[in-house]
Symmetry: C2
Subunit: 152 residues, 2 copies
């Protein structure tokens, strides 16, 4: 039960842990995500930026970094790269001349939608291992766990 059949090593103290299994399962999905991104010459972190700007055009760099919980300084190289790929653009803000408003280019919108569909298709592979309704149940219980943190 607690033994991994592949190498005969006993993972007992890790296997029984829900956090450990969540991590392993998340890694399975991350591999799909990473691979889909890699095929399009991007990283998961950069896709996250595109996804945020796609649904929230006009955000500043700082707002995006806050939304993704990374430091402002990390955004500079990231936006530079996305701008180099011509999928995002910095527009000088009118109200506040210190900041840029971020927008996806036409190419960027199509790129983001294409990548999103690709990841979605990749994830669907695992639906075969779930019974009817289990996916919704899983999403629901994960939501409860995520919400549970907030009341800490």
């Amino acid at each position: 039960m607690n033994t991994d059949a592949q190498n005969g090593i006993d993972y007992a103290m890790l296997q029984s842990r829900l956090g450990y299994k969540l991590r392993r399962a998340q890694m399975v999905y991350f591999d799909v995500f990473f691979e889909a991104c890699a095929q399009e010459g991007i990283t998961p972190g950069l896709f996250s930026i595109l996804a945020i700007v796609y649904h929230n055009p006009g955000l500043t760099q700082s707002a995006v970094s806050a939304a993704l919980d990374v430091d402002r300084s990390a955004m500079v190289a990231a936006i530079d790269k996305l701008e180099g790929m011509e999928v995002i653009e910095r527009r000088k803000s009118k109200n506040d001349r210190r900041s840029y408003a971020l927008y996806l280019t036409k190419k960027g919108k199509a790129f983001t939608e294409h990548l999103n569909q690709k990841v979605e298709a990749g994830e669907q592979r695992f639906d075969a291992f779930m019974q009817e309704g289990e996916r919704e149940w899983l999403l629901d219980i994960l939501d409860r766990i995520i919400e549970a943190r907030k009341g800490s």
Copy 2:
């Protein structure tokens, strides 16, 4: 639904993704794990080593690195640190003089058990957000996802 009430930013393309929710939920549990480890002056990575050696005394450094899927070279500093804490010890292997056999010290066993209980207690906080039997079902579905990768 797809909007985070906290900052008014629309995470739609990420929120709908099962992989993203798995990551968020995993981070909730990881915070508990990390905090419990930090209070004992250790890291999650080092605890994983202790957990493996606890259940598999006598493994070589290379075997542990393979079990945890990290490079051999990363083990050196890690075992150095655990040895410095007097929770693990390298014993010269008799059969193969190139390698060490790893064992927990008496202190190391107690330390590992204590830490394990601490993490377990921390995780139990989230059981309140699950119905009867849901935890077992969740472990089961996560196992199916983890196993699904192998047949890729």
